[in-house]
Symmetry: C2
Subunit: 150 residues, 2 copies
């Protein structure tokens, strides 16, 4: 029923069609608190009988990443995950216990990039920073943070 989410409007804005599978996936993604995986979405779609095929999930994730509505990240174990995010460049901290993620605005990384460029002679075009640790809620001894979407 076209519950509008940041994702659906981003799709619309980028000139993609607002189909039922995409809306269903957008809703599933909007429900996610921390990061989520392609396999997880496939499973969720199947268990809720959304009639969304595996191929569509992967294609949609590809589109969403292309328009910057989600970002792909590589977990330490080598798994791939995604997080919904805003279009500006940024990075994520991932809680290793509960999976929640937080965005980092700028993080003063430009100086690091410049430093590296100077040190190695490379022209650095792209970078990726991923941080892992414990979120405030888990730190406080509360293994299952209560806030869902704030």
């Amino acid at each position: 029923m076209a519950t509008p989410t940041p994702i659906t409007s981003a799709l619309d804005r980028a000139g993609y069609r607002l189909t039922a599978p995409r809306q269903a996936l957008a809703a599933l993604i909007a429900d996610q608190d921390g990061h989520f995986t392609a396999a997880g979405l496939v499973a969720a779609a199947r268990s809720r009988r959304l009639g969304v095929g595996r191929a569509t999930v992967f294609r949609t994730l590809e589109v969403l990443e292309a328009i910057g509505a989600i970002e792909r990240l590589d977990l330490p174990g080598g798994e791939h995950a995604y997080v919904g995010c805003k279009p500006a460049h940024h990075h994520h901290v991932v809680c290793s216990r509960c999976g929640r993620t937080s965005e980092i605005r700028d993080a003063d990384l430009q100086r690091v990039v410049r430093h590296v460029a100077r040190q190695t002679g490379y022209r650095v075009d792209e970078h990726r920073l991923e941080l892992f640790g414990l979120c405030p809620a888990c730190l406080a001894g509360d293994a299952r943070p209560k806030a869902r979407k704030s």
Copy 2:
């Protein structure tokens, strides 16, 4: 033939046996200039008739990563690759054209990590920084850098 490489001695030091397959793989890895992939090693081992099975390649990579002789990195496309490296904590710049990698010593990243911790309230335990760009040789218009291991 036991051509000794940093990798073979690291294996030895860590109490692992210096078997023929491991020496062969160590030699293959020592030949790599930039990063290399598991699949690439498997193919190289097969094409050179080293008699090293796929399982052994993966097991050896696992061991080498465990003892810190190589490091696993995640390329932008989602592929996994490895680079030979020294045990100290560090990061890599990967040349997007020729695949060569360079190590970055410290990169002043601690301040960034502290900054993030302060900003988000997370306790940051682990981080990963990967940079991509053009190496000096490729920048100079020389698509095929000549230096091998310096």
